[in-house]
Symmetry: C2
Subunit: 97 residues, 2 copies
DNA sequence: ATTTTATTTAGATTATCATCTAATTATCTA
DNA sequence: TAGATAATTAGATGATAATCTAAATAAAAT
């Protein structure tokens, strides 16, 4: 029942609110870095850092498309987990019985 | 679909591995501070700090019993969430179909 | 009442992390 | 090929968080 480094990296990744926002954006669909950047105030370097943390945790995947890089959510156990968390966490207001 | 401060405090609370270990200990049952402390290397002050973070996030509850304080998991939406996370995160090895 | 035990609080230190600017890499276009 | 665009990497800085020691609070036992 030991926690693996990979699992730990997940908790680290979702600890930051900006990264959680990025994940939420990507729920709508894949996005280039520039497209993501449009939603935030911080620099491109900072965004790149956040994306890297998410990538290390395998919460996102990247592919190149010309000079841009397209980020997508890694729709696996981990993504479903986040959706579940979101739903459950919002469960304060209206419990659906 | 805005994240509340309370929800944010949850992510912060589970971001630290020591606090995750504490939560896992408490899954077995309620424990005094001293009993928890026996599992860790750091000081009582540090433990107190971590317990406070968990309490702020309402992941744990405290009651007094003489001179000790007994901590229990807050068995609510949030606790179930953690159990789910744990199960799902471990789901690498053996998917139960 | 004094001492001991359990825990928290205060204040300081250290480590980690988010962020910035500047420089670099890679691709595309004129 | 030169210049423009997209993104990452390097290195520095500031903020936040984990940890420590020492002091404070509170209950129990002697």
């Amino acid at each position: 029942m030991q926690e693996t480094p990979k699992q730990a990296s997940l908790f680290t990744a979702i600890a930051d609110i900006q990264r959680r926002k990025i994940l939420n954006l990507l729920k709508e669909g894949e996005l280039s870095v520039a497209a993501i950047k449009a939603h935030f105030d911080f620099s491109g370097a900072t965004l790149s850092h956040h994306l890297n943390v998410l990538k290390q945790a395998e919460l996102v995947r990247v592919r190149r498309q010309g000079q841009q890089r397209i980020y997508t959510l890694n729709l696996s156990v981990l993504e479903e987990l986040l959706l579940l968390m979101n739903q459950l966490l919002k469960g304060d207001e209206h419990e659906k019985p």
